[in-house]
Symmetry: C2
Subunit: 200 residues, 2 copies
């Protein structure tokens, strides 16, 4: 059979997407080849436009328009501008904005401490964090990290890093998710919810 180099290259490129294995990449490539509505070109153009039009904010790390860097979240007046929320990824910033539960500034670390994946402190945006703490007059830092061991390690590291800076450091609450019942909660969630009990 002919060696179909363009097909092999497409499968290889798709395989580089996170969570897309070789099998899925092959399936997607075949679907793209068979598509009769020009999806291949639509997707290519969307990628090229995004590559030109989007950037990571040099300040907070959020996704922003290339023409607007630092981003709007960093530059527009915000009610809680003295509070800096530290997250792992730009996607987390979008999630927290959608929640409407925070009105301060953000800082994405672009990962978390993960020896297993070879991500160390030097790969995260810690230096930029210290610069910002020094320059932007934050009074409080909120760690909005996840609940697993790697996120815990990252949270501990940041707390130590900021120990002698003039900011208070807090971490978002862990407990029962909204709408859940004791009956269906797992042991770890319940234990954390009990430890974090609040007077009422």
């Amino acid at each position: 059979m002919d060696h179909l180099a363009p097909l092999d290259n497409l499968v290889a490129a798709l395989s580089r997407l996170p969570g897309i294995g070789r099998r899925t990449a092959e399936r997607l490539a075949m679907a793209l080849v068979q598509d009769r509505k020009g999806l291949m070109r639509i997707l290519a153009n969307a990628l090229l436009e995004a590559d030109d039009g989007l950037a990571c904010c040099e300040r907070c790390g959020s996704v922003t328009l290339s023409t607007r860097n630092p981003c709007e979240l960093c530059t527009r007046p915000r009610k809680e501008a003295r509070i800096l929320c530290i997250v792992e990824s730009p996607g987390d910033i979008l999630k927290i904005e959608e929640s409407g539960g925070f009105h301060g500034r953000y800082h994405a670390l672009m990962g978390r401490i993960s020896p297993m994946h070879g991500t160390g402190v030097a790969d995260l945006r810690m230096d930029r964090l210290l610069e910002r703490i020094a320059d932007e007059g934050f009074e409080e830092v909120v760690l909005a990290l996840g609940t697993d061991a790697e996120s815990d390690a990252t949270a501990s590291y940041v707390r130590e890093l900021l120990a002698n800076r003039p900011v208070t450091v807090s971490r978002i609450a862990f407990g029962l998710p909204a709408g859940s019942a004791i009956e269906y909660s797992d042991a770890a969630t319940l234990a954390r919810a009990l430890r974090g009990r609040q007077s009422m």
Copy 2:
């Protein structure tokens, strides 16, 4: 927050891929934006090259180079060139070629009869199939379709369609997959394997 049109467009384009929901598309888009190795452009170029360089063979429907249509499978001498293997998709052709179990010609229907997905006989390559049966002198047609109800319906339709043509029609065997044990086989597989028993 700024309306990030390029991000929205990228998510929308990725969502059109089969099996990729909105959530996954958002995750992929964020990963692409954060990627520092130029994956966005690599993928865009792979798509554009594939769009230019690949085509579906006008005869069998297999994926082929745009410069080679009809494809090599249709034009090169093949040991069993009198046998036509009918499959649902170009991907199935690649699978069967990899198996090394067939050396004839192929015909991809580009789908199967599926009222649920709005795919009817008119959407499949049945007219082209009849043309090929008339023109290419096949003696046998092998249906290499799956085992579910939609594939069964498609197989029945093709058998009827070819009832008064000068070809024998067969269907690939169903039974225990290689390396499997009775103990771990499901009832439907076992029932089909028993019905298809062969003298030895």
